[in-house]
Symmetry: C2
């Protein structure tokens, strides 16, 4: 067995031991640990920034572009916000032990469905070191241990952040191994996590580019909570309020173009395209957004031609595909054919049309008259998110603390036999 | 592409089309279809029994043992019970469209978590043809399509049963392809289902022996709801009521030895073993149960020796492993080390001890003073079960109609942007 393999197995065993301890710790102990983690993170801002500067220097020496630097770089404001985020997670209700349902059978058996932690989460992520703090805090809120494997570029930053979190756990008397960073930048570590570390990992959460997520979905032995991509749609129905249509489309596309909830394709009803599309296009163009349209859209507004590939594309950039559709059914059919099951919105004042859209579009999140950029655990009131899932089992949509739990059945009898 | 492959893909496409139609059908339409299915099944009893006789003849010509015949054989009573079971499923609440939670955000967004069907279920099972009817009915109650692949021994019986179910679907105006049987006994069909039929299968439910389940868990591309085995424990605590201890142990082991909720290992506290174990052993022996004990148990009652392998074994036979333990912690540790996370019970009048057992034993079902044989969807009030799951994600314990659903978030706005 290689040295790395031995170390990874130790990490797995440590995580399992910590998970057992966390599962029976009190909600109050987890809350205290979260507050201590937030405090330690604030106290260590200088150390973490030094480690981050090391990462940035290393990245610069091998050449880095601006968006990569933006993802990697930390600053006092970001770290203060991160610490405040952990305090916010400390303030949400602890999900562990909650009785989700309870009923009594005719034979007198009382059955309860009780929330329990999942166990050990394996998280594989890229470049943004702050993900380590969000994920560690949410995992702990739900009573889980977590093993974090960031990109090699952010190794020093992640190690420093995880050091602060572990100090907080120790302050509260909880096992430090509840949050571990894989201590080796060796790429083989990812493969070992995907193989499950001898069953020590109960669920894998990948967060990063499409290549990373696709690899995890293909190779992981443990179940995966993830989304491969967010090809999100905003559909302007014939009965849309024009003011809402413009405001929602602009926000859904341009508020931040790099998030998975950003709208990538605009669908607009033939009936209103001639009047509404020019106004929407002007507003987007003014913000630097390029449009690519089908023939009908281009007959109304001058823009580049969209080809079949555009309907499938998650640009994550100031580019919007535009298609004129022949009403609600055509919009639903387009989303069914090209969407990624992430987030899709209808803009309409017609409640019956909205109801059909919300029922028939089979995505994790469906919206009526709201920006698709609300697809976010924080915006949903979950106190944060470890990611967004588009799989059909267990968790769909934003994955917060509650979604990082499972349940068991507790059956109370008085001697019943069958 | 082989002929089989072409046919399997057609089945996958048909199931997906049917699932789309079912998801938007009314609860009432699904209820009507279930009632029609029950009726068609009653009407076709003679035809189904003829097909079953064919299966039995074929099995006899290749030699079959008694327990195999028992699993394969249908009779009018079994079929009538099967039909009544479908009527019972028709009577339970339809889970689709239920708002599981709803809340309003400070910005006015109203968020609902709404139950939706999973989509297409792939079910792979062995020998018991009646599983086809239970699974088909539960899948439909939850708005799912299902693809059924029974063992080649039960092929004629399953085809006849599925024919009746499909006739019921047609009676109610729902697509017959909501329930399909794989029309080929070729073993390659299983591999194709595990490969997911081009993404047409959303979840796989295997039901059968350990080899089948292990293969499915190893090879399936889609998530799996299953249990590999049920190494269930009954633990007699020092403060157990002797009458309950005897009754529960005997029922948990001997009511039916071939079910996954049957107790396989008896743990008994050292303090009460000398007084209680002889009585329990007598009652079990009188019913033909063989005991295998550790040294302490054998010092109290004459029985065969249990070795390390016995603690891991799901006998599914009138055999019980017996171990004397040194109190609650030792019992919990034994179950953690040897259990399969299925169902475990404590017999005790000490509520604090029971509470610790119920919290700390990490199994899908934990019980206090009740027979482990209650681990069953029907007994839980689910109207039936498609199987029992020991995985940690999505569904744990009995998988009924509700567990065959997922959810989506429906966000109601009034023009909100972020």
């Amino acid at each position: 067995m290689s040295t790395l393999e031995t170390r990874m197995r130790e990490i797995g065993k440590g995580a399992r031991r910590a998970a057992r301890a966390l599962a029976t710790a009190s909600a109050e102990a987890r809350t205290q640990a979260l507050r201590a983690m937030a405090r330690r993170l604030r106290d260590k801002i200088r150390t973490i920034l030094e480690s981050n500067a090391d990462d940035i220097r290393r990245a610069e020496s091998s050449g880095l572009n601006e968006s990569f630097r933006d993802r990697l770089q930390l600053n006092p404001e970001r770290l203060t916000a991160l610490s405040a985020g952990i305090d916010a997670i400390a303030a949400i209700d602890d999900p562990v032990g909650v009785v989700m349902a309870a009923w009594t059978r005719p034979n007198g058996l009382r059955i309860e469905r009780v929330r329990t932690p999942i166990g050990v989460i394996g998280m594989i992520f890229e470049s943004r070191p702050n993900v380590a703090a969000d994920a560690g805090a949410l995992a702990l809120r739900a009573g889980n241990a977590i093993i974090l494997r960031g990109g090699s570029d952010s190794f020093a930053s992640v190690t420093a952040i995880v050091g602060a979190l572990r100090a907080g756990l120790a302050d509260a008397g909880l096992p430090e191994d509840a949050i571990q960073a894989v201590p080796d930048t060796d790429r083989d570590a990812v493969g070992m996590m995907l193989a499950g570390l001898d069953g020590a990992i109960d669920v894998i959460v990948p967060r990063g580019g499409k290549n990373l997520v696709a690899r995890v979905q293909k190779e992981s032995r443990a179940p995966v909570l993830a989304h491969l991509e967010g090809v999100c749609h905003t559909y302007i129905h014939a009965d849309a309020d024009p003011v809402k249509a413009v405001a929602i489309t602009v926000n859904a596309k341009m508020r931040r173009v790099s998030v998975c909830g950003a709208t990538e394709t605009l669908l607009i009803d033939r009936a209103v395209a001639p009047t509404l599309l020019p106004e929407i296009a002007d507003a987007l163009t003014a913000l630097g957004c390029a449009l690519r349209g089908d023939a009908e859209a281009r007959a109304i507004v001058k823009m580049d031609e969209a080809n079949e590939a555009d309907w499938h594309t998650e640009y994550l950039a100031p580019v919007l595909a535009v298609r004129v559709v022949d009403g609600l059914d055509a919009a639903i059919a387009h989303i069914g054919a090209y969407g990624s099951g992430h987030t899709d919105c209808i803009v309409s004042e017609d409640l019956a049309a909205a109801r059909r859209f919300l029922t028939e579009v089979d995505s994790a999140i469906v919206m009526h008259n709201a920006s698709t950029q609300f697809a976010d655990g924080g915006e949903f009131g979950f106190g944060g998110e470890i990611g967004i899932a588009t799989g059909r089992l267990h968790a769909r949509g934003p994955v917060g603390a509650e979604q990082l739990t499972t349940f068991k059945y507790v059956v109370h009898g008085d001697g019943q036999t069958r």
